[in-house]
């Protein structure tokens, strides 16, 4: 389990659906071949009023957003840009397939919660500094802000759990195939 990532920390709320991978990391930076070089450019082109990547990303470890996060290009630079910023977990109503797979392939998590849970998170927490604790064994998220606390169960498949435990698909596949 040595490769396992951290899934706790401060939450960044992005109140929009269909955030695409061009917004997460613009194509201009795809010429970088070191993941670390992507760090300053995360969410640079996000179209979301009130959001300032230079101010809002720092110190955050988790993203909570709406539906179809990560649509568009297959670029794994999007999960990498999150990873090098210390964000290993995205929670959304739904994800684009390739983005979701890329996250688990990197040993990170893209977890779906029902719309009612996401609505509640935005309603109760998104305006306050919020932190999350993830319990992978019991599969629960515990959100905290201002003395308020909310716990949500989540589901990921056994395969996804194995990928997280192995630290990603390369390690898993090399051991199995």
């Amino acid at each position: 389990m040595s490769g396992m990532k951290n899934f706790d920390g401060k939450v960044l709320f992005l109140d929009r659906s269909d955030i695409n991978t061009d917004e997460i990391i613009p194509a201009g930076y795809l010429t970088e071949i070191q993941k670390q070089a992507l760090k300053p450019y995360l969410l640079e082109d996000l179209k979301l009023s009130g959001f300032d990547p230079r101010r809002d990303i720092d110190g955050k470890s988790v993203i909570v957003t709406r539906s179809n996060f990560g649509c568009g290009s297959s670029r794994e630079h999007a999960p990498w840009a999150l990873e090098v910023n210390g964000i290993h977990l995205v929670i959304a109503e739904s994800f684009a397939r390739i983005f979701r797979q890329n996250m688990f392939n990197c040993g990170m998590m893209a977890v779906e919660l029902p719309k009612t849970d996401i609505d509640r998170l935005f309603f109760e927490f998104s305006t306050k500094p919020t932190t999350l604790e993830t319990d992978l064994n019991t599969m629960h998220f515990r959100f905290r802000a201002d003395g308020r606390e909310a716990v949500f169960p989540f589901v990921i498949s056994r395969f996804d759990r194995e990928l997280v435990a192995a630290g990603g698909w390369v390690a898993y596949a090399d051991a199995h195939y």
């Binding site: 269909d18 194509a27 970088e32 539906s67 670029r75 684009a96 397939r97 390739i98």
Partner: protein, 428 residues
């Protein structure tokens, strides 16, 4: 119970079923380009795993930025080039022989009905036009594909779209797929394969089917797929003529990958296209679609004809037919990028490039370039581009730029007028 085409392909390729609905598939081909592959190569090297599962099944091209525009893109090309040499990957296409991956690889005969193909590129779904399961993946899946020749997918769910009627003159596969996107949305086919069926698909050329399947991912689909038929066999014949005694025999072999009549689909949509008008996108999502007529008159700064969606010879013929005898507006920059060297030389031989040049277009070498805002036609802040590509995301063709997606005919008519224009106005 019957099976869909993709279920049959999965059944024929599954080598492991480690969990629930997870299928590990054997790959017939892994396609590579210089943007997503170098990181996989470097990671394999750093893990001490610098190997390839089968050099004959790996096809690689430098296409996104070609010729290299700066030291970084030169290095990406070099990493891919050195790796192809080191591993004896003979199907490697460098400058002079290179073109946009999803136009080049079909042209080389690398795609066959029933194949499973992955590439580190979301528009890999294009190759479903041949009755293959072809899916875009990230760099990690690509890396494992290169190393082991396998990839994991969930057992596929399919959505069927039956397209009937007859396309009016001036209306093309691009208009059909845009109208489908407008109807089902950018999330409408997530985690599903779209099976395109019906008389309109049957009547389409392979080029048109590729345009259709190309944008399946814009609806979130894992891939698009068209049933292999006589058109597929005719296209592939030069590459398969030694494998089969006749075209009929090839067709019979490929029919193993036809869907059963009682196959189950999660959803079936029917579309009647006889009254379909030319379509265009208007916002920053590919499902923001309306008839061109409703956008007519919107000024544009640049017109781009090219890409894996619409940079093939048929597309250039259609655009040249509209442009012939006209000059493009003084307020517009016209750029055409034939998608492959073969398309380029065909367009040259047919006099199409002359038509483009006389109209005032700049003709570039085959490359992705402007499509993803990396070279050969990047927009300035606030500029508007009429484009035959597949994505209109904010900043896609240049920071702060706006992209309207449309067919080559609409793009050509728009270039002449300098404003979004229904191509039908320029017919005869």
């Amino acid at each position: 119970m019957g099976k869909t085409a993709v279920e049959k392909i999965f059944d024929a390729h599954q080598i492991d079923n480690p969990f629930e609905d997870i299928c590990v598939l054997r790959l017939d081909a892994v396609f590579c380009h210089e943007i997503t592959t170098p990181v996989a190569i470097n990671d394999l090297v750093s893990r001490g795993l610098d190997r390839v599962f089968d050099p004959g099944r790996i096809k690689a091209v430098i296409d996104h930025v070609s010729p290299a525009k700066d030291s970084k893109t030169a290095l990406q090309g070099k990493i891919l080039r050195d790796w192809a040499r080191r591993h004896g990957i003979s199907d490697f296409f460098d400058i002079g022989a290179n073109g946009v991956c999803h136009a080049l690889f079909p042209e080389k005969g690398f795609v066959r009905p029933g194949y499973v193909i992955i590439m580190g590129d979301s528009h890999t779904c294009t190759h479903g036009a041949f009755g293959a399961f072809a899916a875009g993946v990230g760099t990690t899946d690509l890396e494992v594909g290169i190393l082991k020749g396998v990839c994991a997918f969930k057992y596929p769910k399919s959505m069927r779209i039956r397209i009937s009627g007859e396309l009016a003159s001036g209306v093309y596969a691009k208009d059909v797929i845009l109208s489908i996107l407008g109807r089902i949305g950018v999330n409408g086919a997530t985690n599903r394969v779209i099976a395109f069926e019906g008389p309109v698909v049957d009547a389409m050329s392979m080029e048109a089917r590729m345009t259709l399947c190309n944008m399946a991912v814009e609806a979130g689909a894992t891939s698009g797929i068209c049933a292999p038929d006589r058109t597929t066999v005719d296209y592939l014949w030069p590459f398969i003529k030694d494998d089969y005694t006749s075209r009929e025999q090839a067709l019979a072999a490929f029919s193993a990958y036809l869907p059963d009549p009682d196959a189950e689909y999660e959803e079936t949509l029917s579309m009647e296209v006889t009254d379909l008008e030319p379509q265009i996108t208007y916002g920053y999502k590919p499902d923001n679609v309306r008839p061109v007529r409703e956008m007519a008159g919107t000024p544009v700064d640049q017109v781009y004809i090219g890409s894996c969606t619409n940079g093939r010879i048929e597309d250039l013929r259609v655009a040249a037919a509209v442009l012939k005898g006209h000059r493009i507006s003084k307020n517009v920059r016209g750029i055409v990028s034939p998608a492959t060297p073969k398309v380029f030389s065909q367009a040259l031989a047919e006099g199409l490039l002359q038509v483009f040049m006389e109209a005032g277009f700049c003709v570039t070498n085959p490359t992705c370039g402007a499509c993803l805002g990396m070279s050969n036609g990047v927009l300035a802040e606030g500029e508007v581009c009429a484009s035959t590509t597949n994505r209109n995301f904010y900043g896609r063709m240049g920071k702060g730029g706006m992209v309207h997606l449309m067919s080559p005919a609409t793009a050509a008519a728009t270039a002449i007028a300098g404003r979004i224009t229904n191509s039908i106005l320029y017919k005869g």
